[in-house]
């Protein structure tokens, strides 16, 4: 394992201390690894996201006017504890309640829900959405269901903008659930991630192999194949989303192409070119596009494709609204 770090056990605290040194407009609650805005908009619903670390810029990079109020940072690929989430809730509460964006992993769900219980004991109104956009995962009542992955960033942006405009906790809950219901992501890896404390890749890929349907924690995916061209990968991912969502091709879409950490923008734009061309050929109308590293898996090389059906014209407005979050 080759990384620019100090002690592998210290990556979280070194990184967050670095984040605070670089960004003057955040507050860093050291004990609980929470990054909040230094200044809150008064009276709005507080929006919190978080989870394990290793997904940078998620989640701290999305703290800022127009997006999150606070980000809770667990150890690498490990959900934060209820205490940590509760500390973020207390910090982000501006009197109108707090809304949690949770990615669908057992650990995140349990820890965030326990934090909600703690907050309600102190009379803070808390509600949440569980993002489960990863269509790579078979979804049925007998499984854990779909994971929450890069589409979460679009949820942050849309509800972040709505909260800034004064939406109530109930409004935000309805909005978030509706967005999640229209969201689908699927990703590929050509090189696995290495967790600093583990020192070994989460799975092994040969020099000519790639993996379809990987998660953002180094989880392997649904199929391992010989490396394909960007165009073929784009076709397969769009196909997978179509099969799983059963959307018709007259949809209006927002598209997020997300780099997994070690994939250069050159490849991301090439892949974006193929995705957008295919979507257009099929008849989709793409009204919003974004390319870059938003929800990474440490140093995994790969990309994910997120499609959001723009059910409501307001969503596009929220997506294009300006924000001070440095990573958007």
């Amino acid at each position: 394992m080759k990384k620019i770090i100090n002690q592998p056990e210290q990556v979280l605290v070194d990184m967050l201390a670095g984040y605070k040194l670089v960004h003057d407009d955040v507050t860093y609650l050291e004990d609980t690894h929470v990054i909040t805005r230094a200044q809150f908009t008064s009276n709005k619903v507080g929006i919190i996201s978080g989870g394990g670390s290793g997904h940078e810029p998620a989640h701290a990079g999305f703290v800022g006017l127009g997006m999150l109020d606070a980000a809770v940072c667990g150890h690498v690929f490990t959900s934060p504890t209820p205490d940590q989430v509760f500390s973020a809730i207390k910090a982000a509460d501006q009197g109108s309640g707090v809304f949690l964006v949770i990615k669908n992993y057992s650990g995140d769900c349990m820890n965030f829900e326990m934090a909600k219980d703690l907050a309600e004991l102190e009379d803070i109104a808390v509600d949440y959405v569980i993002v489960n956009d990863d269509v790579a995962v078979f979804d049925s009542s007998y499984t854990e269901g779909r994971r929450g992955v890069a589409g979460t960033i679009l949820v942050h942006k849309i509800i972040g903008a709505a909260a800034e405009k004064g939406a109530s906790l109930e409004d935000i809950k309805t909005l978030a659930e509706s967005v999640v219901a229209h969201l689908a992501t699927v990703g590929v890896a050509i090189k696995p991630a290495i967790v600093p404390e583990v020192g070994k890749p989460g799975f092994d890929l040969d020099e000519d192999e790639m993996e379809f349907g990987i998660g953002i924690h180094g989880e392997p995916g649904y199929s391992r194949e010989k490396i394909k061209t960007s165009r073929e990968i784009a076709e397969e991912l769009i196909h997978k989303i179509e099969v799983e969502t059963k959307w018709t091709t007259d949809q209006t879409l927002a598209v997020l192409i997300n780099g997994m950490g070690a994939t250069p923008l050159m490849e991301q734009y090439i892949f974006a070119h193929d995705c957008l061309n295919i979507l257009q050929e099929k008849g989709y109308k793409v009204q919003f596009k974004k390319v870059g590293n938003y929800m990474t898996a440490i140093d995994m090389a790969g990309v994910s494709l997120t499609l959001l059906q723009l059910e409501d014209a307001k969503w596009l407005e929220y997506l294009t609204e300006s924000t001070l979050a440095p990573a958007w």
Binding site: T81, M110, E144, G202
Partner: protein, 202 residues
């Protein structure tokens, strides 16, 4: 055997030591079917528990469980933090003000822990999780027949299952024949109980 505060503390001490010792192995199991952090997560809780006992030793029997619950809930994170934390918390609640547990009471306390995991995890036996070690272990304990061999066999059976809960479930068929890390750490929990005292005698 009667479980006293001293015995319970020994139980958790041995458990914590085993977890710390097997940290790499637990993470390696998790690396294959999960995200590679189970050993680190559990060792964090174990380390904190051992340190906290230096400063504030438990006063009552239930304190042993309460302190373990607090360390797991507030210090571990991931899935194992709330699951083990809830188990220990429910065990403390079941103990209440008792300072000794007879064999049958012990079984009921561990059952309370088991139910805690089920409720917190919205999970059931058969999904290839820690529950699949807890359930057979409780059964054997009830019959005063829990041994390390039985725990070993149990883990082998869990290994043959297909995961439908937790991170490993994302792997589907590929989870078959891989060791579930939470099942492996649960095995350590019951091994520690066996090492703390002779459960099958009186």
């Amino acid at each position: 055997m009667i479980i006293t505060k001293e015995l319970a503390q020994k139980w958790f001490t041995v458990f914590a030591e085993k977890v710390i010792q097997d940290k790499e192995q637990l993470s390696e199991y998790d690396r294959i079917i999960g995200d590679g952090d189970h050993g680190m997560n559990m060792a964090r809780g174990a380390q904190q528990l051992l340190s906290s006992w230096q400063e504030t030793p438990p006063v009552h029997l239930a304190d042993v469980f309460k302190q373990a619950a607090m360390k797991w809930i507030s210090g571990v994170g991931g899935a194992s933090g709330p699951l083990y934390g809830t188990a220990f918390f429910e065990m403390a609640k079941a103990i209440g003000t008792k300072e000794e547990l007879q064999h049958e009471e012990l079984v009921n306390v561990i059952k309370a822990g088991f139910d805690g995991i089920r409720k917190r995890g919205k999970s059931e036996v058969g999904q290839k999780t820690m529950l699949d070690v807890w359930a057979p272990a409780i059964e054997s304990l009830e019959e005063k027949q829990l041994t390390t061999e039985i725990l070993e066999t149990t883990l082998t059976k869990v290994t043959a299952l297909k995961a439908t809960k937790g991170r490993a479930s994302f792997l589907g068929e590929r989870s078959i024949n891989e060791v579930d890390p939470g099942a492996a750490s649960s095995k350590l929990f019951f091994e520690a109980l066996l090492e703390a005292g002779d459960l099958n005698g009186d």
